[in-house]
Symmetry: C2
Subunit: 206 residues, 2 copies
């Protein structure tokens, strides 16, 4: 019997059990090594060996070294998105869109500072401002909120990209600089205030 030529959308194939297991194992091991030895010691070879797997498997699962850190962040990001999508206002639904936008910036700044070690490692090897998938979620959320605010004649797609970058830029700049330790909270707060000021300016009517 001929097998279906095109699998229907969303069912290309179930992920194999060993693949899922190995992915989990690698992420867990990566977190251990990160906590114990810091970012620098987390090499692909060391990770593979400590996880008891082959190097090829690490690459199959994450593609690049930066991919590991992105995966780690996305992992944590799930809980964060949960709060954003269905938590209490003003972050979650129920508050005016502008308030949610401001709250989102504040929460996002806190999130990035809280995970600064991993974030730093993730941007260390890749794109400066737009940093992969994590940013895509931010962008989508911001765009969604923007649709609920009257902004005559604005290009929402561009505006969402601009605002997402504007939100993260001060933090990424800070994290890119070497030796951040003490004034993290100060940067976080200043970023949050700057964000609030920016979106209020952008969204107010003339």
């Amino acid at each position: 019997m001929d097998r279906p030529v095109l699998p229907l959308l969303g069912s290309p194939r179930a992920a194999r059990a060993d693949a899922v297991r190995n992915r989990r194992q690698l992420l867990a091991t990566a977190r251990e090594m990160l906590a114990e030895q810091g970012v620098a010691r987390l090499t692909m070879d060391a990770l593979a060996e400590r996880a008891g797997l082959g190097k090829g498997t690490v690459y199959r699962r994450f593609g690049t070294r930066a991919g590991i850190f992105q995966a780690l962040i996305e992992d944590d990001e799930h809980a964060f998105q949960e709060r954003v999508l269905s938590g209490p206002p003003p972050l979650g639904p129920g508050a005016p869109a502008l308030d949610r936008l401001i709250a989102y910036g504040r929460a996002r700044a806190a999130f990035l500072i809280e995970h600064r070690e991993i974030v730093r490692a993730a941007i260390d090897g890749r794109r400066p401002v737009p940093a992969g998938t994590e940013m895509r979620l931010s962008q989508m959320h911001i765009r969604m909120l923007l649709t609920q605010i009257p902004l005559d004649g604005a290009d929402l797609d561009i505006l969402a990209v601009q605002l997402t970058a504007a939100l993260e830029a001060p933090l990424l700049l800070y994290l890119s600089a070497a030796d951040f330790t003490d004034d993290a909270l100060h940067t976080q707060e200043r970023t949050a205030r700057g964000w609030q000021d920016l979106v209020q300016r952008v969204c107010r009517r003339p």
Copy 2:
């Protein structure tokens, strides 16, 4: 190009002739290889060999692989900054600050698209080099223009960082995506319009 070192405050020493010569030689060779063989073939070893110099010299001059691309951009950037600082209005001095800001965004977008190949290579770099120098100039200029616009109670440093990132984000996002070729001008124009809209919103009075 001469090194952009500030000779003002107690210059410790003049740059050595051979150092300057080698730097020029390396940049020229890098441009050749870039044009002939594309980005991927431009390795530190290959560059050194073709330039007839040692690997150590390449590393000494540019620090990292990404540093080469940054140096190439800065080279071109010099002419650009010339126009910005002392060219005709509205880009150069003489026009209202808001108009200059808008003109700057448009010119910057054109510049980045024009040099898209190199910019892309610089983005792909592995590690942050001395600093994102290219961006710093943008930031300083934008901040300078902002001081000439009444913006009550804004944190100018943060705002400059935010706007710089907002300006470049759409372009960098586009350049990060693989296979850009045809719709470059479209992206450029859309970015320029988006920038104009953004700064007008930010700078208008309530």
